[in-house]
Structure formats: structure tokens, C-alpha cells
């Protein structure tokens, strides 16, 4: 079928088209807008899952924008690709699937959650734009295109974080994120300019062929690493994260989680598929590992003492990102050494990847549950809550699932990925595993606190009239909960069919280049 060739392009074009049509449709009626955004996000999810299926069956997909045909990456007479190319392998496609689930949940949840506020046509348009930016960052195979999508998603998220614009804190959080993020974007742009000046290419596959471990490449790698590390919340640069995650509406926070993971996807792409063995220095993997350990412990220890529910979860995001950074750092350390790669490297990369997918799902669910608490209680302060489990049984069960998953309690998926990370990082140094285990314990402790103070305890008089949140919000949460349960109940299927091919695609630098540049080296 010809349509199947166009799936990568449709993943980007659909949300873009829908985003620009939304204000025009919203002029008709609010109901039309709601139906429109729901249909579009369901369609995007469908397209992304079809893309994942196609990639798993047929191997890496490329898509050349503007070419006479979708697969002409090298027109005759050209040594390097000149057009913008989307390159989708198992790794990209898996991350895109998690992001698609997050945006589906956020869209459905947001229908009722933000209903009573004004400016909803721009909310919907920006949300779809954020989806397009995230998908673009994940799927792109072109460096400058990556910068453009990074900025699209950044600008959309600044607008969405400040959606509650008459709350001073929201605008403040948006401003702080914007300040750091703009500096990071300039570093990325200058890094890309370095690449262009040094190698004359902006295509990722061509760059992965050309890259040498010289001074310029190292500087570029550090710029990209710091900028994207900031975007996904590595420790000394994470301060924007709890602020903006807490102040954004809950339906947006789900998507912000996916966007920050898109940055991590590109970071892994740079470290593994583009640089690979040409990384030239053991300092880069160790920087990842050290930042990861600091994030793990620093994030969670700040989370334990918080009493504002979404801010607490924001600090947990920092901590969870630390697990992935550590795992990818260990994988990077083992790169180029076949024995070490077989021994623990691939397991570390798979663990990090699996944890990334799990993290998007359960952290999204946790933020949605926190939003539900805010929706009924009118406050995010845990001191003012209590006894809500009787009033909101569904939300409390969903929260319990997500909290068990993030704390790594068996039978949930969070345990499997954390376990894979523990066992692989142990091979590098046992202290990494100790840090990870202590962080995990503290995670459990802080979520016990949240559950105990918000859901358990005696009923409070001011919540006598509280009812369960509306059905559409439950449906949004159920999307993520169902995904968590599937990943939990079929771990071996997940690891063997989804995660392992993705990890192998990530570390296989030669085949990443070959998909665009052709087989000849």
C-alpha cells in the first residue's frame, strides 16, 4: 500500500495540519473542537503504531521530504543527501509510540480538565503543535530539522506552561524555563553550525559516516549533551523542571514529560548512532553517569520533603531521568568493546530504553492523578487533602498502579526496567547500583506519603461534596494505565519484540548510516 510509505511524514503533517485548523474549527463550536482534537490525536496514535509495526517488520524506514519519490535519499550525482530526511528505526518508533500514548491521554483528559478556562482554541492548537514538535524531534534524520522541531516544541511548551496566565507562578515557571531553554537552543544552533562548517553536512546519517574524534566534534558533542541534558532534567540544570511541571495544567504536563524524553532520545541518537566509537573520550560516558547518579539522588531527596503534590512529582522526574542517563552512560562506556557490550552494555541500553518508555507512561499517569486531585480539591497542597479514596475510588486505584510502577514494586513494569539497570550498572561499579537502590527506596517512601496523606486518613468536612472526576478524565488516565498493565504483564514479549530490537538499532551505527547513504562504506 502506498499510504504505508508515507507514515513518517503523516506523523508530522497530521498534527501540524490539525493545529492550524483548530482555531478555524473552534469558531464553529466548542463541541466540534473537542471532537476534532480527539479524532486527530487518536489518528496520530494509530499512525505511529502502524509505523512501529512497519519498522519492526520491514526494518528501518526513511522518508525524503520533497523528493519525487519517498525513498530517493541520494539523487544521482550527489554524494550527500540534500533534502530533509526522516529516518525511523526501531528505537525512534518505540519512543514515538510512548509519546503518542502520552498525547492521546493528555488530549482526552484535557477535554474536561481545562473546560472552564478561556483561550481554549489556542490551547488545543498549541497542544497539537507540541505533539508535532515532539514527534518531529523523535523521528527526524536531519540536524537542522531537529533544531526547528526543538524550538517548535519549546515555544509551544512555554505557551502551555503559562496557560493559567493569571497565576503569577505559572508565568514565572514559563519565564524560567524559557530563559534556560533559549540559551540551550543557542548552544545547539552553534553546535550545528560547527558541524556544518567542519563536515559540510547536516544529515544525521551522512554526519555519522563523516565524524572524526577531533576537537570540533568533541565541542559539538558537549554542547549538544549539555543542552539536551538540560531539556531532560539532568541534575545541576534541572531547576526549571519541578517549577514548570507543577505549574502547567496536568494535561499539558503529560506531554511535557514526553517532550523531555524526546530530548533524551536525540541525546542517545547523538551519543550512540552519530558518534558511537568516534566519541573519542571516556569523559562523555562518565559525565552521563555522574549526572545520572546526581539526578537520581538529588531529585529524589528533594522530592521526599515536598508537600505540593505536582512539585513532588516534578522532582521525581529528575530522579527517574537519572536512571536512564546512568544506564545510557554505562552502555556508552561499553561501546566498541564487543565482550563488554554483550556482557552488560546492551542490557544497560535496553534497561534505559525500557525505563524511558515506562517512565513516560507511569509519570504521565501520576501527573494526571495529581491533576484529578487538584480538580476536586482545588489545591495542590497535600496538607489540605485527606480521605479522598472513598470519594474517588477509580483515581485512587489508578494512582496506586502508577505509584507502584514508579517505585519499582513487583509485578509492575517499573521493576523490570530498574532491575535491568541495576544488574548492568553493577558491572561498571557497585556504587552506581547502591545509589539507584537507595533512590528507589526514597521514591517508594515519598509516594507512600502522597498516598497516605491524600487518599487515606479520615474524611474531611470540606470534601463532603466531592465526586469522582468526569468520565473523559478517567478515560485519559485509563489509556496510560492500560499501557502500563500490558507492559507489566508481558515483560518478555516487550523486551524481546520491542526493547531489544530498539536497543540494537540504537547502538548499530553502521546500519543507521547505511539506511540513508546506501550500503557501500
Amino acid at each position: 500500500m502506498k499510504l504505508m510509505n508515507h507514515l513518517p511524514a503523516l506523523t508530522l503533517a497530521l498534527p501540524l495540519l490539525a493545529a492550524f485548523a483548530t482555531p478555524l474549527i473552534a469558531a464553529v463550536s466548542a463541541k466540534a473542537r473537542n471532537r476534532w482534537v480527539t479524532c486527530v490525536s487518536a489518528l496520530v496514535t494509530l499512525v505511529v503504531f502502524a509505523l512501529l509495526h512497519r519498522v519492526l517488520v520491514h526494518g528501518t524506514q526513511i522518508y525524503v521530504m520533497g523528493a519525487p519519490s519517498w525513498n530517493i535519499s541520494l539523487p544521482s550525482g550527489f554524494a550527500i543527501p540534500v533534502r530533509i530526511i526522516l529516518e525511523v528505526d526501531a528505537f525512534n518508533a518505540l519512543a514515538a509510540c510512548a509519546a503518542a500514548l502520552a498525547q492521546l491521554a493528555g488530549t482526552i483528559y484535557g477535554l474536561k480538565f481545562v473546560k472552564k478556562f478561556t483561550g481554549l482554541e489556542f490551547y488545543s492548537a498549541l497542544f497539537l503543535l507540541l505533539t508535532a514538535g515532539t514527534m518531529g524531534m523523535i523521528l527526524t534524520g536531519d540536524l537542522f530539522n531537529f533544531f526547528v522541531f526543538l524550538e517548535i516544541s519549546s515555544v509551544a511548551s512555554f505557551g502551555l506552561i503559562a496557560f493559567w496566565r493569571d497565576r503569577p507562578e505559572s508565568v514565572e515557571a514559563s519565564y524560567k524555563y524559557m530563559l534556560v531553554s533559549q540559551l540551550a537552543a543557542q548552544l545547539v544552533l552553534i553546535g550545528l553550525a560547527f558541524i556544518y562548517g567542519r563536515y559540510g553536512v547536516l544529515n544525521m546519517a551522512a554526519f555519522s559516516r563523516a565524524v572524526q574524534p577531533d576537537l570540533i566534534s568533541k565541542v559539538v558533542l558537549v554542547f549538544i549533551l549539555v543542552a539536551l541534558g538540560m531539556k531532560c532534567g539532568a541534575f545541576p540544570m534541572h531547576m526549571w523542571m519541578p517549577d514548570s511541571y507543577a505549574e502547567a495544567p496536568a494535561s499539558v504536563t503529560v506531554m511535557l514529560v514526553a517532550t523531555s524524553q524526546a530530548s533524551l532520545v536525540v541525546l542517545c541518537r547523538f551519543c550512540f548512532s552519530l558518534y558511537g566509537t568516534a566519541i573519542g573520550s571516556a569523559a562523555v560516558p562518565w559525565a552521563l553517569i555522574v549526572m545520572g547518579c546526581l539526578s537520581m539522588f538529588g531529585g529524589v531527596s528533594m522530592a521526599v520533603v515536598q508537600h505540593e503534590v505536582k512539585r513532588l512529582m516534578g522532582y521525581h522526574s529528575v530522579s527517574q531521568v537519572g536512571y536512564m542517563l546512568t544506564a545510557f552512560g554505562v552502555g556508552l562506556l561499553a561501546l566498541g568493546d564487543a565482550a563488554a557490550m554483550n556482557d552488560y552494555g546492551l542490557a544497560a541500553v535496553s534497561g534505559g530504553l525500557y525505563h524511558m518508555i515506562n517512565y513516560i507512561l507511569y509519570k504521565g499517569l501520576l501527573f494526571l492523578c495529581a491533576g484529578a486531585l487538584y480538580y476536586v480539591a482545588g489545591s495542590r497542597d497535600l496538607d489540605k487533602m485527606g480521605g479522598l479514596a472513598r470519594r474517588m475510588p477509580v483515581t485512587s486505584v489508578l494512582f496506586l498502579i502508577a505509584a507502584a510502577a514508579i517505585s519499582g514494586l513487583p509485578p509492575f513494569n517499573g521493576f523490570v526496567s530498574k532491575w535491568m539497570i541495576y544488574e548492568s550498572v553493577y558491572a561498571v561499579h557497585p556504587i552506581l547500583m547502591v545509589v539507584a537502590l537507595v533512590s528507589s527506596v526514597l521514591t517508594l517512601a515519598s509516594f507512600v506519603k502522597v498516598y497516605q496523606t491524600a487518599f487515606l486518613g479520615p474524611e474531611r468536612s470540606q470534601f463532603a461534596a466531592v465526586r469522582e472526576v468526569p468520565k473523559s478524565m478517567i478515560a485519559g488516565m485509563a489509556v496510560l494505565a492500560a499501557a502500563i498493565l500490558v507492559l507489566s504483564l508481558f515483560p518478555s514479549w516487550t523486551v524481546n519484540t520491542l526493547v531489544r530490537p530498539a536497543a540494537e538499532a540504537l547502538v548499530d551505527k553502521a546500519s543507521y548510516g547505511a539506511a540513508v547513504m546506501g550500503g557501500a562504506l
Binding site: L225, V226, M237, M239, A283, R460, L489, P491
Partner: protein, 111 residues
């Protein structure tokens, strides 16, 4: 049905865990059934026993979230004072940390 994942040191099986949870739940239910049968709902037996005193309001009666893990926080007071000072809320200091990290990593990578 669910399959297992093997690593060098052990294996993971979701089915085994579910089986364990089911049997533990069954045992709990069994023990619960062996309890007293003269319990009646809606009588004085439902009341909270508070040393014979009147039970205060929920606001006073519960430990608020900001007081939870007080001992933990108190023991690590010096650590937390540093960590809270890091999250000072000033946007330009956050930018400063970003630049500092970039410079640090650049030094380690290039040297």
C-alpha cells in the same frame, strides 16, 4: 503465558508474582474469615478508640504531609540546607548552573 526474562543472576516472571499475590490474598481472606463473627456494622464497634477521649477533627488528627519524615529531614539538615539553597528561584542563577555544567564537562572532555 507471560514469559520470563533471564539475566545473569536470576529471572523475572510476572506470572509467578501474580500467582504469589493471589495466594497471599487468598491466605489473607482465609485468616480474615477466621476472625470474630459478632462484629456489627454501624454500632459503637465502628468508633475510633482514642484512649477514651473524644476524637478530634480530621485536620488536627492527621499528620500533614509537610510533617511527614520529619526525623529524616532533621537528621540530614545540613544536606538539605545546601540542596534548598540550590533551588533558590532566581532565574539567572539557573542559567549560571547551566553554563557552569557546560564549562565543567567541556574541560573534562577536552583535557
Amino acid at each position: 503465558m507471560f514469559g520470563s526474562i533471564f539475566s545473569g543472576a536470576g529471572f523475572w516472571d510476572a506470572g509467578a508474582w501474580i500467582l504469589a499475590f493471589l495466594s497471599a490474598g487468598g491466605a489473607a481472606l482465609f485468616i480474615r474469615r477466621m476472625g470474630r463473627s459478632d462484629y456489627k456494622k454501624g454500632t459503637d464497634q465502628d468508633e475510633i478508640y482514642y484512649s477514651g477521649n473524644v476524637v478530634p477533627d480530621a485536620e488536627i488528627f492527621t499528620v500533614p504531609a509537610s510533617s511527614a519524615y520529619w526525623g529524616f529531614r532533621e537528621a540530614l539538615k545540613s544536606y538539605y540546607s545546601h540542596l534548598t539553597a540550590l533551588h533558590c528561584g532566581i532565574a539567572t542563577e539557573y542559567v549560571g548552573w547551566f553554563v557552569f555544567t557546560a564549562a565543567l564537562i567541556l574541560t573534562f572532555v577536552l583535557v
